[in-house]
Amino acid sequence: MMQITRQAIRPDELRARLNDPAAGAYASFEGWIRNENEGHDVLRLEYEVYEPLAVTEGEKVIAEARAKFPILHADCVHRSGLLEIGECAVWVGVSSGHRDEAFLACRYIIDQVKVRLPIWKKEHYADGHSGWVNCERCATHGNG
């Protein structure tokens, strides 16, 4: 399931939704707000999300991961709004029988979410400026 939220992401609660007596492996990824990007001191980040399409595109990504890898459960949650340094911007969790597919599906989901969902982030810098972050494939360095 793909969710967009303005509330703090709680990985411990989200993880519990992936429990399954047949699951031997759980892999998760989180994107945290870091204090630096491409040489600029970052104070906070602002996420703009076009929710209707972010959700349907995210659901598509998760369905693709299920089709590619024999996993049991997978979810993704992305924040919108203003985030401070250290906050969790995105969470991906996958449970499966064995660890290969948990890692691969988790990686697939975060990679696709970053380049396909209609989500934008504006960085607010220590020098008072701000700017929209270029897409990962366009920029020289990705975030997270």
Binding site: K114, P118, I119, W120, W132, N134, C138, N143
Partner: protein, 81 residues
């Protein structure tokens, strides 16, 4: 023949155009035509290859046809995560 379209702008596009949506009358066959004509009008610097488009809340291609009455969503380079 000219079509009446609703165009929505997001993130940098919205800031650049100074509005989040407008109704336009364009002689456009595809999403690419819409992008190029509005790029001229608003002077956005983003290359089309880095951007995305949706038509009536479905992700589309730049070659997707546009119809009279469609809502075109123009997405500048995305950066989730």
């Amino acid at each position: 023949m000219s079509k009446t379209l609703t165009v929505r702008y997001f993130a940098g596009f919205r800031e650049h155009a100074g509005l989040d949506r407008e109704t336009v009358s364009l002689d456009a066959a595809t999403a690419r035509d819409v992008f190029e004509q509005l790029k001229q009008r608003h002077g956005s610097p983003e290359p089309l290859a880095h951007c995305k488009v949706a038509i009536n809340d479905e992700m589309a291609d730049w070659s997707s046809p546009v119809e009279d009455g469609d809502t075109i969503l123009l997405f500048p380079p995305v950066a989730g995560g």
